[in-house]
């Protein structure tokens, strides 16, 4: 079995599956001399890599085709409505805005908290026992299914002490609102942000910190002016990954934001009447509009899913730009 990735130009492979690649001449090492099991392993890696590329491309292409076919710009500004035909049921503007709201609110909690936790773990981390506990707690949160977080959220936000965060009726607290959903969604994003920022801080050599201390700077000043700016790409990566998880989560939305397809404002001043009320997001809309959901309008589900996909792709693009900009600033030789 020959993979053309590593075939020396002098000895072309005698048959075997030819996997197209962008191998350049004078490749590093030929696999012709490898043991059979290693060559099979390499081929499996290649096959799996291509398979997953194919799956990702298939999803993207299919959604693009469906999305372009069904998405009308008017859907983004028309709220969903009850009706008997596709023409009467409107669009998903409330879901679109809802996604933006939970994204912004979730990140407003998760980003500062995540950065703070990562800085504490890497730069302070004392007492060591508390740091270890914090680390495993963050890992545990990362492992908890979001539906469990959602159920836990209902317990917290149905508490009468937190009645001001959602609708309440005769002393019974509804517990579903943008506040409740965003708070629990921030827990979904938090572990990703912490992990990414930690990685960024760890990648800064120790002597860089010491160089800052050695000109009389405190730990706080060093963190603020040197370490966090230096790990900006990882902060951004964590933020984008976290935001992607927030706007992609469905379980918490269904449980903590409501099964409605429209905003359901409660009393209060302008932004708070909406934020305290129930609502929806694109994921919730896709779920409900899919053939298994209550709306059963697959065409609009495709359109909404397409919008969601575009948002995630935009996030990926943003990460890419930030990393490219960081490369211009350069890094230390280790």
């Amino acid at each position: 079995m020959e993979s053309s990735l590593a075939t020396p130009p002098a000895a072309p492979p005698p048959g075997g599956p030819q996997i197209p690649s962008n191998a350049t001449k004078g490749a590093v090492e030929g696999s012709a001399t490898w043991r059979l099991s290693d060559r099979i392993g390499l081929a499996i890696c290649w096959a799996l890599g291509l398979l997953f590329c194919a799956i990702a491309v298939a999803i993207a292409v299919y959604l693009f085709i469906q999305g372009i076919k069904y998405l009308k710009p008017s859907m983004l500004v028309t709220p969903a409505a009850a009706g008997f035909s596709e023409g009467e049921t409107g669009g998903f503007s409330d879901a679109f805005v809802g996604t933006l709201i939970v994204g912004v609110m979730g990140m407003a909690i998760a980003l500062p908290a995540g950065i703070a936790i990562a800085v504490w773990l890497v730069e302070y981390g004392r007492p060591a026992a508390l740091a270890r506990v914090t680390e495993s707690t963050i890992e545990a949160i990362a492992g908890i299914p979001s539906i469990v977080l959602a159920l836990f959220g209902t317990v917290i936000f149905s508490n009468t002490a937190l009645a001001f965060l959602s609708r309440s009726n005769e002393g019974v607290v509804f517990g579903r609102s943008f506040f409740a959903a965003s708070a629990m969604l921030s827990l979904v994003a938090l572990p990703l942000i912490v992990a990414s920022v930690r990685e960024g801080l760890h990648s800064i050599p120790r002597h860089v910190r010491e160089a800052s201390y050695a000109v009389g700077k405190t730990k706080a000043a060093t963190t603020r002016r040197i370490l966090l700016p230096a790990s900006r790409p990882q902060v951004a990566t964590g933020a984008m990954l976290g935001l992607g998880r927030i706007i992609g989560d469905t379980a918490i939305i269904v449980v903590l934001l409501g099964a409605t397809q429209n905003f359901a404002p409660v009393g209060g001043n302008f932004p708070f009447n909406y934020l305290r009320g129930a609502g929806t997001t694109l994921t919730n809309f896709v779920y409900e509009a899919s053939p298994t959901g209550n709306l059963n309008q697959p065409q609009k589900a495709y359109a909404a899913a397409f919008v969601l996909l575009l948002m995630v792709l935009a996030l990926n693009g943003a990460v890419d730009i930030i990393h490219r900009r960081a490369r211009k600033v350069g890094t230390w030789s280790s």
Binding site: P205, H207, V208, E210, A211, S212, Y213, A214, V215, G216, K217, T218, A220, A221, R224, R225, I226, P229, A230, K328, V329, G330, T331, W332, S333, S334
Partner: protein
């Protein structure tokens, strides 16, 4: 120390022609005696110090990490007007001693220090660390400019802790003068806004020296500042260090005996945490008193 040198140094190829011995060029302009004892360093090109003021006093200092003694009872003077070089094989405690001079050893939680270090007759333990570290600044082995512009690297030192309050204009003279003292200003004056990490290695290291000088220190510590650099950049920095000795007391740790011989006025040879010998560079390299020094400078070990 009668251990024979490790065999790798004596490796002889059976069929190889005998090595050609080339006479080292003789500098007739130097008044210093050639170093005997097998030491073949380049001749010193610097003159004798014009003056010397005692700035720091290391008094019976021992440093230990957990259960390992890194520095054992070392006493040394650090003087402005001269370059003091700490030499010795790896792990001999010279870097630890250097780092204890501005209390950087305290960042290692297991390190304990006994003895006294005085800066202008004040025990450094009585000086607030951030203040001390502005008076005793340090340059590291790896060039480590901060990930910001050349200008901001220096301005960072001049500004109050994490603040950004002082405007660029107000800091300009001080930044320019620090870059100038490090001999970098002419090369970067048009590119002060460029990222510092895109400079060449030698320029980065001089920027780090400029950064250390911007705090207007009394003592400048250099921890093998040239070990990551090419010979040309090394020479530029060596010339710079010699030039700086009149303004600040310079302490340099180096693995490179030739370098110590070229730039140091006084040399302290450390071995396994002990200060074996402290003497003027010409005396220590020319006629070492201790046998271990003799063996080390002649390349028998290390």
């Amino acid at each position: 120390m009668t251990t024979p040198p490790p065999p790798i140094r004596r490796l002889e190829l059976a069929d190889a022609p005998p090595a050609q011995v080339v006479e080292a060029p003789v500098h007739s302009d130097s008044s210093l005696p050639a170093a005997p004892g097998g030491f073949t360093g380049a001749r010193r090109s610097i003159g004798a110090p014009q003056f010397s003021i005692r700035r720091m006093e290391i008094d019976d200092v021992s440093v230990s990490y957990a259960n390992r003694d890194a520095v054992k009872g070392v006493s040394l003077p650090v003087r402005q007007g001269e370059v003091l070089s700490l030499i010795g094989p790896s792990g001999c405690g010279k870097t630890t001693l250097l780092r204890s001079l501005n209390r950087l050893t305290e960042l290692t939680s297991t390190a304990t220090l006994t003895g006294r270090i005085l800066l202008d007759d004040v025990d450094i333990r009585l000086i607030e660390p951030t203040l001390l570290r502005r008076r005793v600044t340090m340059v590291f082995q790896q060039p480590n400019p901060f990930p910001m512009s050349v200008f901001d690297n220096i301005a960072y030192v001049l500004r109050e802790q994490g603040s950004r309050r002082q405007r660029k204009k107000a800091l300009e003279p001080a930044v320019h003068s620090a870059l100038d003292r490090a001999g970098l200003f002419e090369e970067v004056k048009d590119n002060l806004d460029h990222p510092a990490l895109k400079l060449s290695g030698g320029q980065q290291q001089r920027l780090c020296i400029a950064r250390a000088l911007a705090a207007e220190p009394e003592v400048l510590l250099l921890d093998e500042p040239c070990s990551a650099l090419d010979p040309q950049s090394t020479q530029v920095i060596e010339d710079l260090i010699v030039k700086l000795r009149d303004d600040v007391a310079v302490v340099i740790v180096t693995h490179n005996l030739q370098q110590a011989y070229r730039i140091a006025d006084h040399v302290a040879f450390m071995y396994l945490g002990d200060l074996v010998e402290y003497n003027s560079a010409t005396a220590l390299f020319g006629s070492p008193r201790e046998q271990r020094t003799q063996e080390y400078v002649s390349g028998a070990f290390g």
